[in-house]
Symmetry: C2
Subunit: 261 residues, 2 copies
DNA sequence: AAGTTTTTCGTACGCTGTACGATAATGATA
DNA sequence: TATCATTATCGTACAGCGTACGAAAAACTT
């Protein structure tokens, strides 16, 4: 995208009223705010991908100049951190009516996936070393509170949540890659597996897998894998706080220890 | 790192023998190869992080010039893909002596973690849309072959592996963040949770969790979470090919269907 | 020796984050 | 209202990035 940004900015500047005094033409004050900057950056990332988020581009969209942003945002890395935290604001906290900790974690997983899917770039941000901000802490507090109602202490709750979040994150990341591929289908082709390698005939099983069509991750696959995860967790949670899963009731392998592991 | 790269390159060029003819001073031919380029890039990423991998830097380390590399590597993105695939070459294939599919997956998970830990930047690469190359396919084929020996068909094996890999990937990513934090302890401090937010007192559970010290992911935590994962999978795998897990033998909830899910 | 192909390299363009200093707008105070 | 201090904005500049383009050199063929 050559000179596009600059052109856009010049266009914006050109249509400014010469008597502009802090109020833009349509009546919306364009004084900068940290919130406005973060929102603009998120909009860019949603629309054109995370790579398109540059200080100059954000400033251009805000009809401002690059350096003006640095009064509200210490650095670009901080801006990215704020973007990440802002997405946690969309997190719908666990409803009151969840019946047990398994349902709470189930809700947490689906809600996490929903938020991650809405902003595919979140996966990229989470790989850097980011700081957990207010929105994230708020969601975490709510879930901890919910889980504690069902008898899980903080340490164990954190363990479960951590593993679950890691799982959801990885799953959505894999989903995102596939979706990106599907969207860019116009390309000559972007084979997931190098065709040259498969053509050697040395890898019959992988070739057969490719032939029968890779199974793309979807809602059903997510639910299935999530239940594996939860089932495994249930097998480790002390029985007295285990949800009344009919499949488990008559089992003798309940773990008596009060510590998960 | 200002002008460092350029200086290094100039130094290298300066110490070149004027009668240089394809053989470098210490007798090692420095004709470029795709393999040498990839290896150099990996070395840089291991040492200075993925961000330090630039075409100019790689060329400098190879005592070459930036544009020379483009005859062996179509683009930087392709170079990154090749780096990723090369790491699969270090993957130690499942030993012959694994007793059942659960042991095979257990080995696969630990080996994946080992490789990922050796090259922390792999996590960053896997988030982009990459293509699976020969080394990756080789490892996949081996695991599929191993799993099929225990009665798992390709579709189900892929499902299990996919979820497991996603889990390992996410876990190591979390580990990597913590390790990076630990290494940069000299900094004034890099609180994982914003202290200003916690100081509001609105989030007592999170605050208590921070007080009692976050439990860093380690070998033990990995093994524990991995067993959750495998336990959940075992509950979904048809009973006749389920490994003889004593905890499961007397359970009636075996799923008779031949399809996982 | 001449011609062809492969490999290397210099230059240049547009982009990036941001340090620094000058300028403009705003709010407080005399 | 005039002056000053603070805050906000902006222009310029620097070093670095990926890589398109074309010239140059080296290597290999004939």
């Amino acid at each position: 995208m050559p000179t596009r940004v600059l052109k856009r900015r010049n266009a914006r500047l050109a249509e400014r009223s010469p008597t502009w005094d802090g109020i833009s033409l349509d009546g919306i004050p364009n004084g900068l705010t940290r919130e406005r900057i973060v929102a603009a950056a998120i909009a860019i990332a949603d629309e054109d991908g995370l790579a398109a988020v540059s200080i100059r581009r954000v400033a251009s969209d805000l009809e401002s100049s690059a350096m003006a942003l640095y009064h509200y945002v210490p650095s670009k890395q901080d801006l990215l951190n704020m973007m990440l935290d802002a997405t946690y604001g969309e997190f719908e906290l666990a409803a009151e009516h969840v019946a047990d900790w398994r349902a709470a974690l189930h809700h947490f997983a689906w809600e996490s996936r929903r938020c991650l899917q809405r902003h595919p770039w979140v996966n990229l941000l989470r790989t850097n070393d980011t700081e957990y901000g207010p929105q994230c802490i708020r969601a975490l507090e709510a879930l901890l509170t919910c889980l504690s109602r069902f008898g899980l202490d903080i340490r164990n709750a954190i363990r479960l949540m951590g593993v679950l979040f890691v799982f959801v994150n990885g799953f959505v990341a894999a989903e995102g890659v596939d979706q990106k591929r599907k969207r860019a289908k116009a390309q000559p082709q972007q084979p997931v597996f190098s065709k040259a390698v498969l053509a050697t005939g040395k890898f019959p099983k992988v070739a057969r897998f490719v032939e029968m069509g890779a199974e793309l991750p979807d809602d059903q696959a997510f639910e299935r894998a999530l239940n594996w995860m939860l089932e495994g967790m249930a097998s480790a949670v002390p029985s007295q706080i285990r949800p009344p899963n009919p499949a488990n009731v008559n089992t003798k392998r309940s773990i008596a220890r009060n510590q998960i592991g």
